[in-house]
């Protein structure tokens, strides 16, 4: 039998049929939807008189537009409110499960689904959001789609797709102190560039990913799209099974055991080949930050911004108001955002709290800590992290996508820098004229305390030296 990759196994099991000289019909197990990219799809089906084919395989949440304060009150922004109401109405009309604002399961779509056990190995999952790649952390094929495709899945639970090529990125070795999963993926993207993965589905392999928690794996897979890959996957293993076990929608008892037996067959066969392979040494990775306007423009926090002659590079630096060749250490920062589908899980807040504990937020800094879901919010409170944050002068807000894309009120002002744990540093992404510096939750926490960018590795060493 031919050797197959994890991706091949999951893909091949979902092919309904192939169009002659064309794409394949791929069956989709789970379809996640939210308020921003679904209304036009609902409308299209309604206009064409096509019913929703499998409403029980769709789960909806409200996240992109939602306020992160006073969620118990009516949403102030009229357009946002209308979009949220439209989602509720569409879900009600079509018998679709919705975790709307205030629901105990509400949260960012890519935080909510895994924590409820909706995301499982071997599945195909889609959502009208490019960070759907997150769910690949479980060994699922998960990818973002456009609204026309949302309508296609509504109509048929399938998509017409050409099988992408395969790419494997391996990282082996021991990660240095203070290097988090976010640094690993920012490092990979800085090395490979923002379009290296276009046309590919990526598998992350090597002991670094094997030893990562599910939260860490989700952070990594989340940013696959930032190197152009439609999705990223990590082979399911004991860590995966243990994470899923007992969650709300996970298979129970015998069913669970049966599924685990199947999930164990999914990892890439030894000797299977990939269309493209890269490998990196864990020892080379240090805490990272970005200096430009795409996620590939990343450097080690202690490095200087490179010098390049091309026009797009210069445009990017001009937007950021940085000089080629300069270091970002000691750059004053007035805004810090810890949140987004990349870094808003409990582990991210634990890391931030462990650094912040006993320190004070710098006076010049406005810091927004935004949990990924109601469940993460509850856990932050339960573990006493909220008290640590509040004692240090931080404010814990309510869940949502928030300042990652600034669709709600959480906007970074014109010209201000924000050290952010989100995934995109595009021009104006966090508000018109805002300047985003991507980093890990640890770097973000250290920035908030210092009021400027600092060498976090040195900070940790000093903490350890005095026994913190």
């Amino acid at each position: 039998m031919s050797k197959k990759t994890l991706f091949d196994k999951v893909w091949d099991a979902h092919v309904v049929s192939s169009v002659e000289n064309g794409p394949q019909i791929l069956y989709i197990d789970k379809h996640l939807i939210h308020e921003v990219t679904s209304p036009q799809a609902f409308k299209e089906l309604e206009d064409r008189g096509i019913p929703i084919f499998r409403p029980d395989q769709i789960v909806a949440t409200a996240d992109h537009n939602t306020p992160t304060l006073n969620q118990d009150k009516a949403v102030k922004d009229a357009l946002s409110r209308q979009q949220l109401e439209q989602l509720s109405e569409n879900c009600k009309k079509n018998d679709i499960t919705l975790y709307e604002l205030g629901h105990k399961y509400n949260g960012i779509v890519h935080v909510m689904a895994p924590e409820l056990g909706i995301t499982q190995p071997g599945m195909t999952m889609v959502c009208g959001d490019s960070h759907t790649s997150t769910h690949g952390a479980f060994g699922a094929i998960a990818f973002g789609i456009g609204t026309s495709q949302v309508a296609q899945v509504f109509a048929s639970q399938c998509l017409l797709l050409t099988k992408p090529k395969s790419l494997r990125v391996s990282v082996n070795g021991k990660l240095k102190k203070g290097v988090l999963p976010k640094d690993v993926i920012l490092y990979i993207i800085s090395k490979l560039g923002t379009n290296s993965g276009t046309g590919y589905f990526c598998e992350y392999a090597g002991n670094v990913f094997e030893e990562m928690s599910m939260e860490g794996r989700m952070t990594v897979c989340n940013m696959s799209i930032e190197m152009g890959a439609r999705g990223g996957m990590i082979a399911p293993d004991k860590t995966t099974f243990e994470y899923i076990k007992g969650r709300e929608f996970a298979p129970k008892d015998e069913d669970f055991e049966k599924q685990v037996a199947y999930w164990k067959t999914l990892p890439t066969d030894e000797g299977a080949t990939f269309d493209k392979e890269y490998s990196f040494d864990a020892e080379d990775i240090e805490p990272m930050i970005t200096y430009g306007t795409n996620p590939g423009m990343g450097i080690k926090i202690t490095s200087n911004i490179p010098k390049e002659e091309n026009a797009s590079f210069k445009k990017s630096l001009a937007y950021m108001d940085f000089e080629a060749g300069e270091s970002l250490i000691n750059k004053p920062i007035n805004y810090v955002f810890i949140g987004s589908c990349t870094n808003s899980r409990i582990e991210d807040f634990r890391v931030a709290a462990s650094f912040i504990k006993g320190k004070q937020k710098a006076d010049n800094v406005t810091a927004w800590l935004v949990p990924g879901s109601k469940q993460v919010e509850a856990q932050i409170i339960e573990e006493g992290l909220k008290t640590i944050f509040e004692d240090a002068g931080f404010e814990l807000r309510q869940p949502g996508c928030s300042a990652c894309l600034a669709m709600n009120e959480d906007k970074i002002p014109q010209g201000e820098y924000c050290v952010s744990t989100s995934n995109r540093n595009f021009e104006g992404r966090q508000g018109q004229g805002s300047r985003t510096i991507l980093a890990s939750p640890l770097v973000a926490a250290a920035t908030a305390v210092a009021g400027k960018i600092v060498d976090v590795t040195q900070e940790i060493e000093e903490m350890e030296a005095v026994g913190i």
Binding site: I25, Q82, D129, S148, G228, R424, G428
Partner: protein
């Protein structure tokens, strides 16, 4: 979906690499619940200054350029999957986008909206940019049937790749929903005997 066969038009040169969909249509304009009207805000923060006045330096505001072909730098449409980007570009009046590389999701979204993404070689793209910048009224012909893009009255021409199925869809104005809804029996049979 509107049919696409051939197009002859002048072009607008957007000589910037890695144009992401946040630039094509910023998130604050994604609150609409229908598909129309996004063209007003296409490239919003590049077209307008902070005070709301027109940015005269931006190519879309340069009166010497016009036409329904957008010629853009490498890796066009990266980032967010928002189909609003394709809607905004078509609503503004473009029917073709030319680049040396397109991001996956954008490319799919464009094809699903009758907007033809034409991927050309880097060399050809550079020649196009210099030709249009030198002679803004340069007419470009895109022929989907033959899969060619040519600069009229010159020997500048290249063939481009497109998925055969997608090509048929565009020429006939079909979309994937038609195909999938007609495949319902196959899909139900698949559901009945899934192996996982």
């Amino acid at each position: 979906m509107e049919k696409f066969t051939t197009l002859k038009s002048s072009a607008i040169p957007l000589n910037i690499e890695n144009v992401d969909t946040d630039q094509i249509i910023p998130a604050r304009f994604l609150k609409a619940t229908d598909r129309e009207g996004f063209g007003d805000n296409v490239f919003r923060d590049w077209r307008y200054n902070k005070d709301g006045s027109l940015n005269e330096d931006f190519v879309l505001n340069d009166s010497k350029y016009s036409g329904s072909i957008l010629v853009a730098g490498d890796n066009f449409g990266c980032g967010s999957s928002r189909e609003h980007a394709a809607w905004a570009i078509t609503d503004y009046g473009f029917k073709v986008v030319v680049s040396s590389f397109f991001a996956d999701i954008f490319k799919g979204n464009a094809l699903n909206n009758g907007l033809l993404p034409v991927q050309v070689s880097e060399g050809f793209l550079n020649q196009l940019f210099s030709q249009i910048e030198k002679e803004p009224t340069t007419t470009i012909e895109v022929n989907l049937e033959d899969q060619t893009i040519s600069v009229l009255d010159s020997d500048l021409s290249e063939t481009f790749e497109i998925d055969a199925y997608k090509k048929t869809c565009l020429i006939n104005g079909y979309d994937d929903i038609d195909y999938l809804v007609n495949s319902k029996e196959l899909i139900e049979a698949f559901e009945a005997q899934k192996t996982y």
